[in-house]
Each structure stands twice: as structure tokens, then as C-alpha cells.
Symmetry: D2
Subunit: 364 residues, 4 copies
């Protein structure tokens, strides 16, 4: 079941880092949706490895081919499957490492789970490359949400110890959105962004890597979306967010900070604003009882540092069962956070479209 | 779909705070499991409102009746349904509040979602009382896991600003487990526990409430459990953890702290310990690529303060559409965290049994 | 997973013939539906064992208790759970048979599957009594469908070798519907019904039993409901129909007869009837490519004879592993078909509401 | 949800008759299974249109490309996706028919469901071509079942009015299996086969088509597989069988005939045969209470005649909303039954592997 998710919008992913292709089959899209292919390409580009200091020089073109469910520019209602061929393979880089388990990668856990039959090259099915089809699917869902007036926006709120200012959780301005959308390194405060980039460059210089946190807001979503208990907005979002490789924490609204508050401060009091129900604060991140309350959905996703680092590390050889040392050469991002931004947005879009579609159809 | 979860171990909950009963139907339990009814009763007691300073004086007996799937002391393999009758109803307390939306409760979101037809009494289906059947199901799953050598243990790591020391993530001693199990207010450091209780008493004295964080460890789980991507251990656990009312954050291993680390510190290096694969650190919380690596699973769950507080709050009347004020009288916990501990453990047990059962049955 | 079904309208059944109660939890009903309790009671009565010659003298009252999801006469949107207590237990009748496997019952297969831990009394979870909660859920779904203008009607088309005339598949008249609804033994041709009853009486007189076929029509369902392939109307209906104990065959439209036709006769040619698309014939039973075409849905369900017969039969003792003989005493229907009619209609209603609800919510 | 099925062995299909490719993603296969590619190719060939008198001259090569989940000759445990490119397109044949609804095809129902946005060419996603990926997946499942000692075998039991003799439901000999496996037109009685082929040739000569019935047996499956109620063997098999285009009926064991029997004849009495539990007859088709009893599973699937016939037919133009006439030219099978045999076997294999895998993993 590793690769299938959803109830109304079902996605089914496949592929390995060094296999023929990675891809995704999307089931449940309404017929007749005009797809903006350039928009999808731009989303793919945001995730693709670039040529700046933050990302691997590996040049994946990430060009997708739609195999089905798309006819004369529109969705047909049938499953829409897209694949992305793998073409820049340096398989031999990885074969040497076959039995040397890279620390904090899935080499060891994949070996155990699949009895050594997993495709180990470049992480195989565990590779971050599998996020490319997620971004493809997310780009379609984002278009559909946008047509409903729903926008998803993110910024990098921290890299290592360096922090950006947070979103104003009750009032995110329109022009902020537009600025964020066209940035490869989205931050609210440019000076903070400069310091964050320095942290990444520093890590890279030391053959090291660094983690960070992405803050995401969903604007324009009305109240009443989601379910109590097992299909709460938090549950559904968390399910997909934690399926992104490298995610280790997730908090909604004030998150861990709310646990340190008293109720009198934490509670989001209501008021009517020209007939519209709003809250003075938004410590619950727009979700109460698992259901949206009409305020922006706010959450933060914590990413660990890229596990691939050039420094020597202690590990084991799984075949000889001996303690050994490893130095990972290859080409790796010193920080995956900038490329993770569109991935977080993509799964957010998929999750929300799923929830909205479910909410639409409670039977009469 | 709000109330059904799972694939191998399917649970289906129902009930409202002031209806006839709350309950759960559990599908997928193997036939022939001898149930320790006293153990289940004790788990229910841990969650039930008590008579100490931390919990509501409302006396729910939480006595369960097993309706099916249980015969001559053992599971039959057929669905096991249990119900808990509601018997201490003060419905009139709530009727007065019918149209006055309690801040940070699900009154408003439930009203919108269900077009005003939801059972509003005591939060209705959104009530924390629905966690009683979860604890029932969790107690069965914990027994089954225990027979496999898997233990789940938690402590309160913070209340407000007061903190307990964290678990030693690579080495949790057996006697720690036993001590935690019999405590109503489980902490590792007794002095910290004393300070936390003071915080709760202080909040109560001010007609206020306070939040906190629960830290949980799963011991004895072998490597290879879980799936890449959508059914990662983190995804499945997060799905259920975020379905607990009041949860606003979740982090695995070093969690948000790992985002501030460099890879050279964050990576969990391997070594062989008498043939057993272990890691020197456990910043990934026992999970890599969504799959267990054999180290303890460690995670922390952030709870918001109880939204019901005695102080006046600003809100709206949903019928008259006017700004009003509310003072919640009733009887409420100043802090739900102590009673949430067995709930976190229960859903953890359900999630892990689901994952283990899935892993067992990859087909040949 | 034995007891949970559905995607939008999720049902979860539980109970054994001689346990405390049987019941069902229904998830996914819209809030605010006014339930006609008398209608539900009447549907339950149609399935309940009566005092005529066709059914067991066992007097089950089949009185249901709604535990949740129902408030002030209406659904709340939360899971609606109802239970029916078991009160007329003659457990000792069954204990004697514990190890003697009744032919064509599930005694042996249940024993193997559950390693002998199943509740064997009266068939346990395999009992036809579990169809009572299905009829409860179906009665709610039928009400909802009726409000949409959709009617489900059935008649007994054969008992043993005796046949009723079939429905006119392109034109079922309104008054036929009304006549069927109030009958315990619904047939189109009264003389045929008389002969069928004679067959049943004859079987009863010989301590034997007899099977039969139910024909069902769904009227008023528009075109466009259903999905290609795995969620075709036929697939979804078949899934639930074959979950009814005793069903061994199912055919849509002309069914097995269509396999004997040439295309030129089998094809349902279209014409416009005052702007409405209709077909001259209805050999496809209102379904093409898994999707409704607006003509009546027509299908026939074949039931085997009640396996419980008073005659001596050869079988085995599962404990002593010896060939033995069995004479089933107890009280049993000589023919389950009349009581099966409301069960077929109930699962049809559940399946169609599921499909209609899915169709409503293809996302934009 | 049209294209996703399963719980343990999840399949997700995609594609249209005249799009780029059709394909399937299979999730849940155990790692390390050695695939016999030649066996898969042979199964594909059985379904592919041939050059004999029964099938369309359209030459689809049906060459599959495995994109993922397959490494060094074995499954990796990750999703296995395979595609089959479409290369022999005569799109213009179909464009002319765009608005002329072919009787008994899914043109009209697809048009309504997808608001006219469906890919209409060659039936689009409704095309029988989508059964090619099903046969691919089935061939893998058949291999896995074969390694467990489970064999699936079918023959054509009738074409039009001409009948083959049925399987001996209690004793199917090994050499019968081998003979069936290598036949393009599998029948038990060669003379019957000759008459059936004449019926097909006759229909073809009259620009007509004809239907038929396939009988299938599953041998070597032990008792205890399946579930009561919603996941009965009959329910799961029926779900997939009725998803095959053209299926209109399905019966297990004696099927519709059992409805005409008395219990004393219908009941399958048990006996011990050298310690093995067997039944003297097999009117229940190897399934009791939804669970296998160890006897062969026997069922029959009724196919309608190919809807595409060369004769003039009455229909409507969906754009002009007028009654019109249609003569379908193109190239079409006069009888799909021979090519349907491997499709029935494929979905049977998928369904059984799903059920067996579920049964293996009831948790302890």
C-alpha cells in the first residue's frame, strides 16, 4: 500500500531513482478541466535540481509525459497517468555503496523490509525523486483549487538557527502571495533569507548539510471542510506531509507553542466582521474539531538535514556484518528545504482537494 | 468517513457526549486472543475523569459492554463491538449555550458542517468522551503487542513552561517502564512533576486552563515495519494522533530540533552491537524512509489548553448573528494532558498493530 | 474486513446469532435527514420471521435501538449506530451440534478460518440474523433514495421450478410498485404465487427446503451513475448482493440469456422519446460500461435452499475426525426467499446511495 | 475510483484505446519474486487479437514495458508499473461516430457521466483494450498462485446455444488442465468446440456477433480463505468479474440451478477421504459462508455479444438530438468470449491473491 493514497482523489505513485521512469496515476479528477501545462511545468521546475548553490548539479529535466486521461487539452474523467523518464543515470556511483548502509537514509530499513531485493541505486523507490510525480499531481490540484479561490503559499521560516518572520496568521496580504510564488528561495524578510543562504553555503563548504522549516498558509478556504476524528484536516494533511522524505515534525497554528499557553490566551475568540465569522487570533491554525473555521490554515513542516554528506561516517556493511566507514561522494543538495517547498504545497493541494470533494458529497 | 479508520485492523467509532452510548466496532482481530478484561478496565480508568485536582468532577463510570466478537473469554475473529453507556447527563448545562459558540471548541465548525443539525450537547460527537472507545480498542491492541514483546510508554514532558527531562532515546530502561505504567501523572523527574501540578493548580485557581506535551516511546519493535511514502510509520501514527481532540503538533525523534542541526550531527550512525544493528544516536526516532530501524520509536504530541474556561470570552451567537460574551460554567479539566496520555498510547497501539499486520502479509 | 463496506456510505456490521446484540454503524449520512421510524420498522418486519408457513416460528422482535447519530428526529451527520438485542436464545439446541458440521452451512469453513474459536451457536456471525442490521441501514437509504425519486421494487420470480412472469424491463407501471410493497410474498401473477407457496409447503412437509430467485428493479435513476471498471454499477451491486448469505447467482438485464443471443437482438437500440433518451429493449439491465443509462436497472438474484433440513445427512465430526450423520432439529425456514426480498432491496439501496454520492462529488 | 481496486494487492489501471498507452500499477507484491516474462507474454498473447476467424484483424502487439518495481529479474517490493503503448491507431474511423451513440456500448453513458469530455475514440477508457493491463497483472498473480499449488483453469462452456460439457466439479483431472492451458479456444469436448466455432463464423457472415459463457475452476486452494459478508470470496470475485466489459451474469457452483433444487439435493454432504475433508457434491462451488471449503471453486461468467455489428441499427445523435441510423464499419470480433477467457482468469488470480494475502495476516 506504500504508493496509493486517497479516497476521492486517488493517487498511485511508482518508480525508482535509477529505473526507467517515475510516475503517478491520478483517479477521480472531474472531466473537462482545462489544464495549464505551463503552470505544471513551472511547478516541476521549482522542485527540479537547479544550478545554484543549494542544489545538486545533477540535471534532471523532469519532463513529464501524460499517458492517459487527457484529451484535447482537458481531463477526460478517466485516470490521468503521467510519467517522467529518468535519463541522467550514474548508476556506478551507487553500486559501490550497495552494502554500505548510508546513515539516516532508508538503505538499511529498505534492505530489511524487502529482504535485500530492493533497487538500492540512488535510494531506489525511497528517493526524493519520487516527489516529482507528487508535484505534478499537486500542480493539477492547485489549479483546481485556485479556480475555487483557494491559494496555497509557503515560505522558508528557518534554515538551521536562522529564522524568517512568521506569517501573520489572521491577515496574509495578497501581494505577499504573489511575491512568494515567483521565488526560488521564498522568505518574507530578505535579510533573513540572506543569512539562511549563508548557513547553507557554510554547510556545503564543510561537506555538511543543514535542515529547516517550511511555513505554509492556505487562504480562501471556507468553513466546514474536514471531518471529526480520523479524517480531520490535521489527520489528512499530516498523513501526506509525513510521507514526504525527510519530514520529522508538523505543527498547526501555534503548534508546540500552544502547549505552553493558558486557555485564556490560546483560545481564538470569535467576532463578526461585516457578517463574516472571524477570530481575533488564529492559534488553532484555522481548524477546530478537525474542520476548517474559515481562517487561514497555517502549519509548519520540519525537515531534517540531507543525510548524504561528504564527511566520513561510521556505519555497517550489511553483507559482511562489520563496522565500516563511509564517505558519500556523489552530488547532493546541502539543504533540501528550498526544493521541498513545492512538494509541501503539492501534497497540501492534493489533501485539500480530497477533503473538499468529500465534503461536497455528503449524500441527501 | 469521520469515524472509520484502518485497513487490516479497522475501527469504527460512534456516539455523542449526551446520547445513549459511545462505542467502537473493531474488525480484523485474529480469533482466539484471550482478553485480559482487568487490563482493559485499568486503561479505561486511566482516561476516565477522576477525583483529583486535574480532572472534572463529572463521574463517568466508563463501564464497557462487549456486544459481539467475544466468546468464552476469547476473540472469535468476528467484529468486536463494545459500547459505553452515558449515564451522568446534565443536558441543561449545555442547552443554554446552544447558539453561543464556545471559542476553540468545534461548536461553530460543527454547526457549519452539519447545517445546525449536529447534537450540540456537550460537544456531541466532537466530545473528548469519544476517546473512551479508542482507549478500549487500544487496550486490546496493547495486549496483543505486549505478547509480541512490544511496549508503549509515555510521560508528560511539559505542562505550560515546566518541563520533565526527555527519554534517553537510545536506551530506555525496563524499570522506567514499570514505574510509568502505574502512574496517573507519569513523569521521569518527580520534582518536575510537582512543578507541573502547580501550574495546573494555578490555572484552575484562575478559572483558566493550560496545555502540555506528551512524549511516547515504543520499545521492542523490530526493523522493517512500515512502508515508504503514504503508509510511512510517521504518516500512519500522525493520522491517528491528529485525530485526538486538542492535538496541534507532533514530532518524531529530534523533531523540530533536527531542522536546526547539521547533517553531521543529525545523522544516526550505525554500529553492530553483538550482531544487532543499532545507532549511536536516535534523532530519527526509530524511523527511516517510513520504516522502523529497530531503535525505539520516539515522538512528542502537543496538546492545547482545554478550551472550556470559566473566564468571560468574546464570541458570537450563531442564530442572532451578534457579538456576545460567554462564561462557561460546567465542570471541566483545567488540563487534559494527564488523561490524554492513555489516549495517545491507545492510538499508537492501534496504528502499530495495523502496520505490523500489514507487514506480515506481503504476499508470496 | 469482513464487516466493513463502502466508501462514502460506510457500513460496519457486528454481532452473532446468540450473542448480546447484532448491529450496524453507518458513517456518511448527511445531517438533517428526517427519519421515518415507522417505515424502518416495517422494513424490519418484512425480514423478521413471521407466523406463516414459510418462516421459522422463532419470534425475534427485531426491535432496534439507535445509539448515536440521531437527534430530535433527524440524522446529525455523525455515525449512526443501531443495535438489535438478541432475546430468544435456545443455545442448547446448537451446543449439541458444536462439532458436527452442518452441510452447506459455514460451520466447517468458520471452524477452519477461526481455528475453532468462532461462536458456533446458531451459525454465530454467519447467521442470517446479521441481515437484520442490513435491512435497518437499507431502510434509511431507501428513504433517502425515495426523496430523490428512486424506487426499488422486487418480486419472487421463481421458487423451485415454479415461475412468476418477469418484470417488463422497459416499462414498469407505478401501481405494480405499490402492490409489491405491501406484500409478504410479492409476485406479479397471483396464480404463480399460489403454486410457489405449494412448493414451499411441499418441501416443509418433507422436512426439506427449496431455493428461488428474486427479481429486482430500480426505477427513477438517471443516467451517468457508476464508474467504468472496478466500480461499475454491476461490480458494486454484485459485491453487496453476494455478501447476502445463500446467494449463488446474479445476472443483470437479460443475464445468462444474453449470452445466447446475437448482437442484433441483444443490442438495446436508442430512440428519443420527447427529448428523453430511451432504449427499445433493456437487455443490458440499465447499465452500459458500468454506468446507468436511465432505463430501469434490472437484476435477478439466485438463492440456494435453506441448508438446515430435518432429514438425516452425512457429515463429519470435526473433533473426532469421523464420518457421522446429522439430523437438524431446531426451527428453520423451509424457504428463505420471501424473507430475503427486503434484504436484497436493502443492500441495493445501500449500494446505489454509495454510487450516487460518489457521482455527485467528482471534484472541480 | 473507477480504476483502483484492492486492499493488499492494489491495482490501478489507466489508459484509453487511442491514447498513448494503457497500463497498470501494482502495489503490494512481495519483494524477490522471480518473474517469468515469457509466461506473462504468453498470457498477453492469449488475449491479444489474433489472425483467426474469431478476432479483429487489428494487430495490437501488446508488448509491455515494465517501468518500475522490477530489478535484476525480480520484484523489488515497490509498486510495479507496466505500460503497453498503443501503436495501430485508425482514429478517423471513430471520429465520424463521435456523436452517434453505438447501441450497447458505453458511448452514451460515458458522454453523460463525463459531460462530453471523455475520449470517445474507440471507446476510450471503456475499451476492451484496458483488459490488456489486467491480463499483465493477472499473469504475475497466476505465477505466484502456481508456486502455492493453486491453478486456475477455464473453458468456453457455451457460445450462443451451443454447449460444452461442464467441469466435473468434484474431480478435475490434471491432464485436463494442461490441455486447456495451451488452447486458443479451450473446450472439454472437441465436437462441441467445432459447433461453437460454426456459430461464431455464422454470426460473422451475417455482420452479426454472438455471446457465450466461460466456466472457471480454481484448484488447489485450501479451506479457510475469504471472509463472511462483505469480503466473501463470491463478493470479491464478483466485484472484479463484473468489471470486465461485457459481463452480464455470474454464478457459483450450481448457481441459478441450485435455486431450483431442494435442500436435500443441493446440500454438499461431507466425508473424510484419508483424513481430508471433502464433499460428495459441489453445488456451492467450493465456498460456504463466503469462505473456501477446500473443494474446487467453480463459477460461470456470461458475456454478451460484441455490441459492434456491421448491420444498420437505430440510435441517436447526441449533439443534434435526433433519431439516426448507424452502421459500424471498423474491425471487430464477432465473439469476444475466446479472448475473454484469459481476462476472467487474470482477475480471478488477482482476487484470490488478494484474499489469500488478507487471510495470512490476521494479526496476533
Amino acid at each position: 500500500m506504500s504508493g496509493i493514497w486517497g479516497n476521492k482523489i486517488k493517487i498511485s505513485i511508482f518508480g525508482e531513482s535509477h529505473g526507467r521512469a517515475v510516475g503517478i496515476n491520478i483517479d477521480g479528477l472531474k472531466a473537462g478541466i482545462l489544464l495549464d501545462i505551463d503552470y505544471i511545468k513551472n511547478e516541476m521546475r521549482r522542485r527540479a535540481p537547479g544550478d545554484n548553490e543549494f542544489s545538486t548539479p545533477r540535471k534532471e529535466k523532469d519532463e513529464f509525459v501524460i499517458l492517459s486521461g487527457f484529451f484535447e487539452g482537458r481531463t477526460t474523467g478517466a485516470p490521468l497517468c503521467a510519467i517522467i523518464y529518468n535519463d541522467d543515470k550514474k548508476t556506478e556511483d551507487y553500486e559501490k555503496l550497495k552494502n554500505t548502509m548510508r546513515p539516516s537514509h532508508a538503505d538499511y530499513t529498505g534492505y530489511v523490509k524487502y529482504n535485500g531485493f530492493n533497487d538500492y541505486r540512488g535510494g531506489g523507490h525511497f528517493s526524493g525523486r519520487l516527489t516529482a510525480p507528487l508535484v505534478f499531481a499537486g500542480a493539477i490540484c492547485k489549479q483546481i483549487l485556485k479556480a475555487m479561490g483557494i491559494t496555497i503559499v509557503s515560505h522558508i521560516i528557518s534554515i538551521g538557527e536562522k529564522k524568517d518572520k512568521p506569517f501573520d496568521s489572521v491577515n496574509i496580504e495578497e501581494d505577499v502571495l504573489k511575491i512568494m510564488e515567483n521565488k526560488d528561495f521564498p522568505v518574507l524578510d530578505q535579510q533573513s533569507g540572506f543569512l539562511m543562504k549563508e548557513v547553507i553555503a557554510g554547510a556545503k563548504g564543510q561537506k555538511d548539510s543543514v535542515g529547516g522549516v517550511v511555513e505554509t498558509a492556505v487562504l480562501g478556504i471556507g468553513p466546514g471542510i474536514g471531518e471529526p476524528f480520523f479524517d480531520s484536516v490535521e489527520s489528512i494533511l499530516a498523513h501526506l506531509i509525513f510521507s514526504i522524505p525527510g519530514v520529522k515534525g508538523l505543527e498547526f497554528g501555534a503548534g508546540f507553542d500552544i502547549s505552553r499557553m493558558h486557555g485564556s490566551k490560546a483560545n481564538d475568540e470569535y467576532y463578526l466582521d461585516n457578517g463574516l465569522v472571524r477570530t481575533y487570533s488564529n492559534n488553532n491554525g484555522g481548524i477546530l474539531g478537525g474542520i476548517t473555521d474559515g481562517m487561514p490554515i497555517i502549519f509548519r513542516t520540519a525537515f531534517k538535514p540531507t543525510p548524504s554528506i561528504g564527511r566520513p561516517q561510521r556505519t555497517i556493511d550489511i553483507e559482511t556484518r562489520k563496522n565500516v566507514e563511509i564517505e558519500i561522494r556523489g552530488r547532493h543538495d546541502p539543504c533540501i528545504v528550498p526544493r521541498a517547498v513545492p512538494v509541501v504545497e503539492a501534497v497540501t493541494a492534493i489533501a485539500l482537494l480530497e477533503l473538499i470533494t468529500r465534503s461536497e458529497s455528503k449524500c441527501i
